[in-house]
């Protein structure tokens, strides 16, 4: 039995208006997120991977209602969040937290660790007395591997990895169920990345947390995620259990992404699918399948005209793809990704 769904989005979208020029009549829009339906189950990590500008961070903010969607729904534990006003959102905000990429700019430099971690405890009135509050903060610091003597120090006294631990302690302070991890390790050194990843996975087991883990790093996503969704120009192009996605990727974009990752093994030569050109602008996304101008399998008259829908090739497999020419053999079975 899969765990019950904690949070899900239904055709969620965010269009940002852009001014094309001083006298522009027609308003143009950046289609940052364009009809994304995803679900995160209790205790599960959903990995969201894509290149810069694909809309993955905007999606992370939409799902927390830090941004208001242009259309679509966000359903948390059976409740639609989109119509809720600030006051009615507040009790739910406790359940949903975010950890940011940059541990340098996401902590207020004028606040001590005690204030940073304790602020939310005070706002949500989770502690009855001051000593109670201090005990909670020290306990949280311990959970993320920091000593109690960190309490009255300021962010600049800590290294990047330690600051990220403070950010995690702050997120945990309100006992959330769901955490959006937005590139939580991208700004850290390799040896520190592993420490933070291990910490996040320990906390998940211990506290039963659900994560939306946003990253451009396919290796980390594979390591932490139960399921993975691949985003391109505001849309999900493929979604599957982690093992399926990495072994039998169906979408040509997923294959290209995976093949582009350098492998730390000089004895192995990669078969590399080199993509032509850059990611197109999300202001005027290409017609049909938005990946078609860079796609090695694009079919003229089909892929540039008709937009493929994200759907399962085999019912019940949970492996969805939005592509007219997915990587399958004659019998329609997903083909293995060749590595060497």
């Amino acid at each position: 039995m899969p765990n019950p769904t904690l949070i899900q989005t239904d055709r969620l979208g965010k269009y940002f208006p852009v001014k094309a020029g001083l006298f522009a009549r027609e308003a143009k829009f950046v289609r940052a997120v364009d009809g994304v339906s995803l679900r995160v189950r209790r205790g599960e990590t959903l990995g969201l991977v894509g290149e810069s500008g694909c809309g993955k961070s905007t999606f992370g903010r939409l799902i927390l209602r830090l941004l208001d969607p242009t259309f679509g729904r966000v359903v948390y534990d059976g409740r639609d969040l989109v119509p809720l006003n600030q006051a009615r959102m507040r009790p739910l905000r406790r359940k949903m937290q975010i950890i940011f990429q940059d541990p340098y700019s996401s902590l207020n430099p004028r606040m001590t660790v005690r204030d940073i971690v304790g602020e939310a405890i005070r706002i949500h009135k989770l502690a009855r007395t001051r000593p109670d509050e201090e005990r909670m903060i020290v306990d949280l610091l311990g959970k993320v591997g920091l000593r109690a003597d960190a309490l009255d120090r300021y962010p600049h006294e800590f290294s990047g990895g330690q600051r990220q631990r403070i950010g995690i302690a702050r997120a945990l302070a309100v006992q959330p169920e769901f955490i959006v991890c937005d590139e939580p390790i991208s700004a850290l050194d390799v040896s520190i990345q592993a420490q933070i990843v291990n910490l996040l996975m320990d906390l998940q087991r211990e506290l039963g947390l659900s994560y939306l883990f946003i990253s451009h790093d396919l290796k980390i996503i594979e390591h932490v995620s139960h399921r993975v969704a691949v985003m391109y120009l505001g849309k999900i192009v493929e979604q599957a259990r982690a093992a399926d996605l990495y072994e039998t990727p169906l979408h040509p974009y997923t294959r290209a992404l995976l093949s582009a990752v350098p492998v730390p093994d000089p004895a192995r030569r990669r078969l590399r699918v080199l993509l032509e050109g850059d990611v197109p602008s999300p202001i005027d996304p290409p017609s049909g399948c938005s990946f078609h101008p860079r796609c090695p399998r694009a079919e003229k008259g089909k892929c540039d005209v008709e937009t493929p829908v994200l759907k399962e090739l085999e019912e019940g497999s949970g492996h969805k793809v939005a592509c007219w020419h997915p990587h399958v053999d004659e019998a329609g079975v997903p083909s293995l990704r060749k590595i060497e």
């Binding site: 390799v190 290796k219 093992a243 582009a260 350098p262 492998v263 004895a267 590399r272």
Partner: protein, 345 residues
């Protein structure tokens, strides 16, 4: 063996700060043979970028090169006047930086900036230099170079700007390219394009490259020889296959192990191996091995005296390590941690 193109010997680059002298590069020696790529790996603050800037003699103040020899084609770069050095920079030795957004001048077209680089070193007319700029833009894979030569940096994407930087660096066909995290700011699909391009151009121009990166995958695929730096020191130096198959320094092994590998065959949610603790403060270095307090293989002797960078075995003599237990470092991917094999542990 032919003489190396670049031979760095005992390079020390230091910064005077309010809290004492900080040696960012501390006695670094290595060679770059002609036509090869040498990878320089390490985490932030290990001195890898400062090593490259020292070779260019572009160490930002208050940093100074204290001692060392930078022998380039037989001449010591440190003995040259600033004018002689300027003739070498951008001509014989070029550098590509990480940030394509900030390394280009926003008020000039990319063509004008490449033309300037060419005319600084070569007696070409404006028209000839412009033709050369267009040629270079085509070479680095910029579409319609005749049109894009007149583009301003903001009109190009990050990947395109990095290509422009490479075009500019290679316009005078340097013998040595110092590439400092040339693809770190880029997406993986663009990174693959740029690295492939660099490899192709290197062969065409028979150039040597010093590739500075924190990404072990990039090094594995593009370098022939690798130097691993830690806290200002080279701690290991080896041919690339050697280094990945038999790391001889616990820090190198730790770096290799902390990168998640493909999950196939591995139980889901397996913990990553970490290197505990943090890089030491360069102003307060321990007396012994600089990695000792984070090292899973450390013995008391490690904190007494810092080991030299020396060949581990006579074969190959090119594999150097700065560790007294170099021969005992277990190969990567072995399940037991190194501590399990430590005698008396």
């Amino acid at each position: 063996m032919p003489a190396p193109l670049l031979r760095v010997q005992g390079l020390v680059t230091s910064f005077r700060t309010d809290m004492g002298i900080l040696r960012a590069v501390d006695g670094v020696s290595f060679e770059v043979p002609e036509g090869t790529t040498v990878g320089l790996v390490g985490e932030s603050g290990c001195g890898k970028s400062m090593t490259a800037l020292s070779v260019m003699r572009l160490v930002p103040p208050p940093g100074v090169i204290e001692v060392g020899r930078l022998e380039f084609r037989g001449r010591d770069l440190l003995k040259l006047s600033e004018r002689e050095m300027r003739a070498i920079r951008g001509n014989d030795i070029s550098m590509v930086f990480q940030e394509p957004m900030t390394s280009l001048n926003p008020v000039y077209t990319v063509g004008a900036q490449i033309v300037e680089a060419i005319r600084l070193h070569q007696s070409r007319s404006r028209g000839e230099a412009r033709d050369r700029a267009v040629e270079m833009l085509g070479l680095v894979g910029i579409h319609s170079p005749e049109a894009n030569v007149d583009a301003y940096p903001h009109q190009l994407s990050g990947g395109m700007r990095q290509r422009v930087m490479i075009a500019m660096a290679l316009a005078c066909e340097p013998k040595l390219l110092l590439a400092d995290e040339p693809t770190t700011a880029l997406d993986v699909t663009i990174q693959a394009q740029i690295l492939e391009l660099l490899g192709r151009l290197q062969q065409q121009l028979r150039m040597s490259v010093v590739l500075i990166t924190h990404d072990l995958g990039v090094v594995a695929e593009h370098a022939e020889h690798v130097l691993v730096m830690y806290a200002g020191r080279v701690v290991e130096s080896a041919p690339v296959r050697e280094l990945f198959a038999r790391p001889r320094h616990p820090y190198t092994r730790g770096l290799l192990e902390s990168v998640p590998r493909a999950r196939r065959g591995l139980a889901p949610g397996t913990k990553l191996t970490t290197i505990e603790g943090m890089v030491p403060d360069l102003r307060h270095l321990p007396p012994g091995c600089r990695f000792a307090d984070r090292c899973p293989m450390a013995v008391p002797e490690c904190s007494a005296r810092e080991p030299d960078l020396a060949p581990v075995e006579s074969d190959p003599p090119t594999h150097l390590s700065r560790c007294i237990r170099a021969k005992e470092v277990p190969p990567p991917g072995t399940p037991a941690g190194p501590r399990a094999e430590a005698p008396g542990a």
